[in-house]
Amino acid sequence: MTQTPLISTTKHLDHQVMTTPAPALAIDAQRIIKRFGTGPLAFQALTDVDFQVARGELVMLVGPSGSGKTTLLSILGCVLRPTSGEVRLFGQDVARLKDSDLPAFRSAVIGFVFQGHNLIASLTARDNIAMISRLRGRSSRQARAEADDLLAQVGLADKRKRRPNELSGGQRQRVAIARALAGDPPLVFADEPTAALDATTGHEVTQLLVELAKVHSSTVVIVTHDNRIFHLADRIVGIEDGRIVEGEIHGVSGAQTQVHQHGVHS
């Protein structure tokens, strides 16, 4: 894992790492193109995107609305296929994986934190988390024990029997983080995790995600344009008009400046 906060954008990564699907890379996406629709209405959301993330790294993908960051996250999260290009997650080419293998792959490898928490309304906090483990084939008892442990880690041990509508926005997002970390997924993708939260709660929740991801040795990619949390990243990658934006970012304030240069409205 890269330890220094001085992180380069993808094009400055070591060439050897880029061209060889080495296990050291958690994510290795190359020449990703994503086009929606056909004919005159076709819209190209991503153009020749190269994106690499080392194991254990925490990368924030920043860019203005419509820049393609969520599309890229969807492709990396195996919920959307690229039009062309190669996506390797831990060496596995997922862009051409069979449709029937994708759910198992997502379930085993990826944890998701969504913008609007996306908890199942009918399930308690504990069962929302346990559901992930049970979908991975673990017994109810094991899944519940793990869920209780994760709820304790996010500070909601006493809220395990509450349903989402009985929790505050911050608490729901904490449950969502615990759910994303259930089963220790090696990859966690978070899509605008602070969007629905106030500044303080958003910061707390992201801080929690970062800390727990380190505890669980997960590689994390966070899509955001919330500059208040940039300092928590190991590396910030800019994206604009479907292309990765080059440039070096030094520290938190540097990230903010860099983002402003690329038109993020923060």
Partner: protein, 407 residues
């Protein structure tokens, strides 16, 4: 881009993790079932609405079928209870209705056919009983021959006797009447004398519930019936057969048919089925079949729309489940489990209501019959119906892109 799809690389560093994820199908299935329950019972208005849809379908269709079975039973009750193993009827007979009369020689030939223990004539016709204060009430008159010994079955005789004994039918001008029609027949009691088809008859016994689709059954001795219905002394409408020990009904019926080619010989079961088939093939089947089908159709539509709208309401949740690793198979199982639960819940409530209704309306005039076959078949049919009804919802869920959770 090479679109050829390939499987997960077994040498991949995450292959073990994937292998583990694929195991535990049972746990996944239980998780899906548990989730199906939770989602169903969480959305109570939808649960109530969908269940009511099933209840409505069950009540309407089971009640219609119950009444149909009741009506069929009314039409077959005589054949079922006449104690005859075999019926010799005029050719072309499909219903218990008087047709061409059978001659004495048929009765004699039947009595001498191997396997026949008893052959008795049955006179069948309609009449009317005069009320003391005027007016009359129609009757179905059954004329039967009393056997020589008390231990011999009284072929074509009354059953469900609530007053009197069967031997009293042999009393001069004696008649068995239907208890449920006593008032309509002029408050008739045991010993009451009433005019029937111009004959002064004495009520010597009463039956209960012997009300066919037409006028109630009444029983008199064969000679009296012949006189009342103007049937010649060597004529009868039907010949009823009791099969001797060691013979089967089918065997003896075949023998009789060979010997009596100008008649239609039917076993009790065959005659029963012929009556049912004739009634179902005519108006009764069409009327009740249509209303039953409408009941099922309405239930189907309610369940289909309700489940589809439930999926639409919870699209984000289904998308999330797909994104976090639930397969189309998992979600299909979830919806199928829900459809089974709706069907089972609705069937039990509906059948309970039909059961209460059946008890409530049970009378000699109208019996709603809910046989065990109907009770067992209803949940099975409703489960099949609800599973088919969930097709729209299933289709929507299967087409759902997990990527929608990021939009």
């Amino acid at each position: 881009m090479n679109l050829r799809r390939h499987r997960i690389d077994p040498t991949s560093p995450i292959a073990d993790r994937l292998r583990r994820a694929r195991k535990g199908m049972l746990a996944r299935t239980f998780a899906t079932i548990a989730l199906a329950f939770r989602m169903m019972f969480h959305d109570k208005p939808k649960l109530v609405g969908t269940t009511l849809g099933v209840v409505f379908a069950v009540v309407l269709s089971a009640q219609q079928l119950g009444i149909l079975f009741g009506l069929l039973q009314k039409n077959t009750m005589f054949v079922d209870n006449a104690q005859a193993d075999i019926w010799i009827t005029p050719p072309g007979t499909n219903q218990l209705q008087p047709g061409k009369r059978l001659s004495e020689s048929i009765l004699v030939q039947a009595r001498t056919t191997p396997g026949v223990a008893t052959a008795a004539p049955l006179i069948y016709g309609t009449g009317s009983i005069q009320r003391p204060w005027g007016g009359s009430e129609p009757l179905t008159i059954i004329g039967l021959e009393l056997p020589a010994t008390a231990d011999t079955p009284l072929l074509g005789g009354p059953w469900n006797i609530v007053a009197g004994i069967r031997e009293t039918i042999a009393l001069p001008n004696g008649i068995f009447l239907e208890d449920a029609r006593r008032e309509k027949m002029g408050n008739v009691n045991l010993g009451s004398v009433r005019e029937v088809n111009g004959y002064a008859l004495t009520a010597v016994g009463f039956t209960w519930g012997l009300l066919p689709f037409g006028p109630p059954y009444s029983f008199v001795e064969a000679k009296l019936a012949r006189a009342m219905l103007e049937v010649g002394p060597e004529e009868q409408h039907f010949v009823l057969i009791e099969v001797a020990d060691g013979f089967t009904s089918d065997q003896v019926a075949a023998n009789l048919q060979d010997r009596l080619p100008d008649t239609r010989v039917m076993t009790k079961a065959t005659f029963h089925d012929a009556i049912v088939a004739t009634l179902l093939g005519e108006q009764l089947g069409i009327t009740f079949g249509t209303s039953t089908a409408f009941g099922l159709l309405i239930g189907f539509i309610i369940v289909a729309l309700s489940m589809f709208s439930s999926v639409l309401d919870n699209l984000k949740e289904f998308g999330t489940l797909k994104a976090i690793g639930a397969t189309n198979g998992d979600l299909s199982r979830l919806l199928i489990v829900q459809s089974i639960l709706y069907a089972t819940l609705g069937s039990f409530i509906g059948l309970g209501m039909v059961g209460f209704a059946a008890e409530g309306i049970r009378s000699a005039n109208l019996a709603m019959i809910v046989p065990i076959e109907l009770i067992l078949a209803t949940p099975a049919i409703m489960i099949a119906l609800c599973m088919v009804a969930s097709f729209l919802a299933l289709r929507r869920v299967r087409k759902l892109e997990p990527g929608m959770v990021f939009r």
